[in-house]
């Protein structure tokens, strides 16, 4: 299945280019904010162009893992630096590129310590690329940690605090932990994700030992059929470990606090891409290596996903802070991602991967726009705002398009993802999953359009003056993301043709082990 090694290490360049950018920023660009941004644009630009290039150059006829690279690191333990992409990771690499490239523009106005900010952001992105490209589970885990840890500093230093009133019988705990502050959010997110990665690490070692302790390579492990008992509990470990990052209920509460506190680009990257790492991990590592475990626990994955969809949407409806609305919508949409995967059908799995992409772009767009609105209005309180449409028609239009994708309106990427998930749900062993999924779209329509109406429609709010539309580099993120949403909504084949080449063999292993 593995195509011939390409001479030029494309995947390595994509992966490490931002990291080199981070090093350059730290060493060369002290007190030169424009240079910081230029380096960031250039190095992420290189990754973006190359990801587009591999996206086009990927041979869907041959399928399998392509652009393969391998470098032995610790031969006695079977650890190697092994990269390769198939149709699924290809799309995720493209998503990462789109989000980071636009994210660099969306954080153009960061004032405090922009040097460190950009350096951390770029280092983090290298971790994300690494996870999507790695075929060696050990190295994958290292990249995974690299992607998670800088978040702590990014939120803790550049984040913003909100206010949460302690209530209920647990109010004392709220006061002691400092709920609402950015430090709390940063700590919660980091600890939660590290807690998850402990499960992942245990899972990886369990597979390594059970396979005879010769190799961490995904390709080697894939060839082995593990005992059913092992498959079950290791799959569960991966599900919990990666699932935390994917925001599965009830382990999702790091996400709203984290995303609401994080600065714009970090929210974009985290909700847009990092949550996908979780879902990708469940599908690639969990389902890919442990097909029988996946089949056995599909009811759990899908059932919890249904809770995510409905519960996330209802929670989003209850929020009064714009960023929390978007954050909870991610919880709801990640439910759709997991639901599609749990159907274990071609349509559902394609829908799941497509939803990862669609939701990544959409939520990236949302957070970019919320950042802009906040910058102009200095408020995130939805019910204070009103009539912004007249002053910022461009932002209003983009927000509406993002919202329409969120509620699954045709001609946006969200629709394709949703309808595929529906199709998969009804063909799965648990037909009732269709109903929570469908209900989720109605609830999404309610909270999204309610927010759009409140913020952009109606008579202008008396609380705000001198509102302006987006300007200059701010347009880059909006235009690119809106264009992507609509393009992939109208021509879903662009993504689904390669994705299908990856999901069909995966399912073949699941259905006939």
């Amino acid at each position: 299945m593995v195509a011939d090694a390409v001479r030029f290490p494309l995947l390595s360049v994509i992966t490490w280019s931002p990291f080199i950018g981070a090093l350059l920023i730290m060493s060369l660009a002290r007190h030169r904010p424009l240079l910081v941004r230029l380096i960031a644009v250039v190095t992420t630009g290189i990754s973006t162009v190359l990801s587009l290039w591999i996206y086009v150059a990927y041979d869907t006829e041959a399928a399998g893992f392509q652009f393969y690279e391998k470098l032995s690191l610790v031969p006695p333990l079977g650890i190697s630096y092994e990269l390769g992409v198939d149709g699924m990771s290809l799309l995720m690499v493209l998503l990462t590129s789109i989000i980071i490239f636009t994210g660099v523009f969306a954080s153009w106005t960061v004032q405090t310590r922009s040097q460190e900010f950009y350096a951390l952001l770029l280092a983090l992105v290298t971790g994300v690329y690494g996870v999507f490209c790695s075929l060696d589970l050990f190295v994958l885990f290292l990249f995974y940690e690299l992607a998670v840890l800088p978040m702590y500093l990014l939120i803790g230093i550049w984040g913003s605090s909100g206010e949460v009133r302690p209530r209920g019988i647990f109010a004392w705990a709220f006061r002691e932990t400092g709920v609402g502050t950015k430090e709390y959010a940063a700590m919660k997110l980091t600890l939660y994700l590290l807690f998850g990665s402990a499960f992942i690490l245990v899972g990886i070692f369990a597979l390594y030992v059970n396979a005879g302790a010769a190799s961490f390579s995904f390709l080697d492990l894939e060839a082995i059929t593990f005992e059913f008992g092992v498959q079950r509990w290791v799959f569960l470990a991966f599900y919990v470990g990666f699932g935390i990052l994917a925001g599965i209920w009830p382990l999702h509460t790091w996400s709203p606090d984290g995303h609401a506190s994080a600065p714009t680009a970090v929210s974009m990257l985290h909700a847009g891409v990092l949550m996908k790492l979780g879902a990708y991990g469940v599908v690639r590592v969990g389902m890919g290596l442990l097909p029988e475990g996946a089949v056995d626990l599909a009811w759990l994955v899908g059932g919890i996903a249904c809770i995510n969809v409905v519960y996330g949407a209802l929670s989003a409806m209850a929020q009064v802070d714009l960023k929390y609305v978007i954050a909870y919508s991610s919880v709801s949409h990640m439910g759709l991602v997991m639901l599609g995967a749990a159907t274990l059908t071609e349509a559902g799995l394609n829908g799941s991967v497509f939803q990862m992409f669609a939701h990544g772009v959409m939520t990236g767009l949302f957070f970019a726009l919320v950042g802009l609105v906040y910058e102009k209005a200095h408020s995130r309180e939805i019910f204070k705002m009103g009539g912004f449409g007249a002053a910022m028609p461009g932002i209003a239009t983009a927000f509406t398009i993002g919202g329409l994708s969120s509620l699954g309106l045709p001609a946006t990427a969200g629709f394709v993802a949703e309808v595929l998930t529906f199709m998969g749900a009804w063909r799965s062993d648990h037909r009732w999953w269709l109903w929570p999924a469908v209900l989720g779209t109605l609830l999404t329509a309610v909270y999204v359009l309610r927010v759009v109406r409140q913020i952009f429609w109606g008579p202008p709010s008396p609380h705000f003056h001198d509102l302006v539309d987006a300007r200059g580099p701010e347009w880059v993120a909006i235009v690119v993301l809106v264009f992507t949403l609509v393009l992939f909504g109208m021509a879903p084949g662009l993504a689904l043709v390669p994705v299908d080449t990856a999901t069909v063999p995966l399912l073949a292993r699941i259905v006939s082990p």
């Binding site: 647990f170 109605l442 329509a445 689904l496």
Partner: protein, 607 residues
């Protein structure tokens, strides 16, 4: 199949051009003319297609899958879609011309935006009627819903318009959930979304019948939302917050009839499930009657027309449910023409007097003879007076319902026919012949400019021409029973006569009629409390429940987590005290530990 493609591509090209080329869009009127010209070209092409009687289909893959595409898109031109193309492009064209004058005091930016929406709507509606698959139909179905939302909310700074827009979207979305679930189930059973393949299966009796009743009912729910059937009709009257030309195009002639189109399109599948057909017919008849009663007590001229549209849609669907889908489709076409005429006429009136309230108009016949003539022509057609278009289509429906053996539905529709004639002439007598009101001395109302008058006359002429065409000889030379003709004329005449007696001359005082019907009057004026119930469900149940969930998430799910972390903090705090910094404490600790180990080694360790 290039001609239908041209029809479809023209408005799409204009949409792209206007939405991307901001300078052109901001010119307003120029953007309007560009859009109008493209629509005119599309209309001419549609006419050519209709005249040629071309048939055919075009299918291309859309969603890839293992072993053949999972879903396809394309074009399907047949006896249903060809006349729809003409109707949609015609009304679009006239409305776009009319809007140039109607919206002449809009700022250029807004006008440009208006034409962006208009061209997107034309594209979406054409895409809908040309759909060869259920999935594509759903795609465009949602897109016309989007256009409806955007155009109802065109004056988005008005709170009422903003409210009406989201209400329309949510209500129709509720029905659409059924639609999408239905087609997904149908796909799961048959492996295809394509009409032709499905109909072939139905014909060969290879279609799996298991669950088909549920599936077709769910698909029908889409029509309930879009075509404003009870109990999802509540959005349509509110949709009148949009500009009047929009109401004429979207909420009378084209989009709202998509549900009828869907049912007509699905006929080969629906005949396999008689239970669903019965529901379609009964709900249609009930909707027709219910909406007619509300139209009788409404004083907003556009809302009267809106209720009338709801009622007529019920008519069409009742026909489709009774097995006379062709008659329902025929009524869809004629109704599209004369209801657009009525809305545009009402727009001319509103434009002239600046109010929607019929009781603040009166005596307009003297000032606006052109508008009066065309409005009365439309009213006569809607009332079903010979020899206008409405008479024939309404008669065809009644005949179809009789043939379908549904006496209950027939009675409801007959009463509706009477009420229709009554409430429409109520409007005519009050507005055009009622006691004149002072309109301010500076600006007496007058007929609209020719850009508006032209479309009105054209639609009026068409209304008459279609009727005359059938007087000369219906295709197939088909004659309904004489008693039916007499009955439907008598119902129309009776309604007109009653309206004349109550509002024209006052021979019968309004109170005399109202008193015995006090209950219905009371309920109809309050829209049978349906809006209040929905409002309660939305505010109380949905938002209330969401607040409960939000609270639980923050204070219970997250609360437990915070308790865990607070405990960890406390535990750390407590353990920290052990590290006192005094050497003797540590020695005690070490000694205690050694002791424990020794005890453990001596007594508990198994050798």
């Amino acid at each position: 199949m290039d001609k239908p493609l041209v029809v479809l591509a023209l408005p799409f090209a204009v949409f792209l051009l206007l939405s991307l080329a901001a300078p052109l869009r901001r010119r307003g009127v120029l953007a309007g003319w560009v859009s109008t010209a493209a629509t005119a070209a599309a209309f001419v092409t549609a006419l050519v297609i209709w005249r040629d009687g071309a048939r055919g289909s075009l299918i291309v893959p859309w969603l890839p899958g293992d072993g053949g595409p999972m879903a396809t898109v394309g074009l399907l031109l047949d006896g249903l879609s060809a006349p729809m193309l003409v109707l949609v492009t015609l009304v679009s064209l006239l409305v776009q011309v009319y809007s140039l004058a109607y919206l002449d005091d809009e700022p250029p930016r807004s006008l440009g935006r208006y034409y962006v929406y208009q061209s997107l709507f034309a594209f979406s509606m054409l895409g809908l009627v040309l759909s060869p698959t259920y999935l594509q139909m759903f795609v465009f179905w949602e897109l016309v819903g989007l256009c409806s939302y955007l155009l109802i909310g065109f004056w988005y700074t008005r709170p009422a318009a903003a409210r009406a827009a989201v209400k329309a979207f949510w209500t129709t979305k509720l029905g659409d959930l059924g639609f999408v679930a239905g087609i997904v189930m149908l796909w799961s059973n048959t492996g295809t979304f394509e009409f032709e393949a499905l109909f072939r299966m139905a014909k060969d009796q290879t279609l799996p019948l298991e669950g088909l009743t549920t599936i077709m009912f769910l698909i029908y729910l889409g029509a309930v939302g879009k075509s404003a059937q009870f109990p999802l009709h509540v959005w349509l009257p509110d949709a009148m917050e949009g500009p009047t030309p929009v109401s004429a195009l979207i909420h009378a002639a084209t989009m709202v009839t998509a549900g009828v189109f869907l049912v007509a399109r699905s006929e080969p599948l629906l005949v396999l499930v008689p239970a669903v057909l019965t529901i379609v017919a009964r709900v249609g008849a009930f909707t027709a009657l219910l909406a007619a009663t509300m139209a009788c007590v409404e004083s907003d001229i556009k809302r009267v027309l809106a209720y009338s549209t709801v009622s007529q849609l019920g008519y069409m669907l009742a026909a489709a449910g009774a097995g006379a889908a062709a008659a329902g489709f025929f009524h869809l076409l004629t109704h599209g023409v004369f209801k657009a005429l009525l809305f545009l006429g009402a727009g001319a009136v509103i434009h002239a007097v600046g109010t929607n309230d019929i009781f603040r108009m009166g005596g307009l016949w003297r000032f606006m003879p052109h508008t009066g003539i065309v409005f009365i022509a439309g009213t006569l057609a809607l009332a079903g007076v010979w020899p206008l278009a409405g008479f024939f289509s309404k008669e065809a429906i009644l005949e179809g319902v009789v043939a379908g053996g549904r006496p209950g539905v027939f009675v409801a529709l007959a009463v509706t026919a009477f009420l229709t004639a009554f409430y429409m002439f109520r409007v005519v007598f009050i507005t055009f012949f009622g006691p004149g009101h002072p309109h301010g001395d500076t600006h007496p109302p007058h007929d609209p400019p020719w850009l508006m008058r032209g479309p009105l006359w054209l639609l009026a002429a068409l209304t008459v021409a279609i009727g005359v065409r059938f007087v000369i000889g219906a295709p197939g030379d088909h004659h309904p029973p004489v008693w039916l003709t007499v009955l439907s004329l008598a119902l129309a005449g009776g309604g007109i006569a009653l309206a004349w007696a109550m509002y024209g001359t006052g021979v019968i005082p309004v109170e005399l009629v109202r008193r015995p019907l006090a209950t219905i009057d009371f309920l109809a004026r309050r829209r049978y409390f349906l809006d209040a119930i929905y409002g309660g469900i939305y505010r109380g149940l949905m938002l209330g429940f969401s607040r409960v969930v939000g609270w639980i998430d923050r204070y219970v799910v997250d609360g437990i987590l915070n308790v865990c972390s607070a405990w960890s903090l406390r535990a750390g705090d407590a353990l920290r005290r052990i590290q006192s910094g005094q050497a003797q404490d540590y020695v005690y600790g070490v000694a205690f530990g050694v002791l424990l180990l020794l005890v453990w080694a001596r007594w508990w360790r198994t050798p």
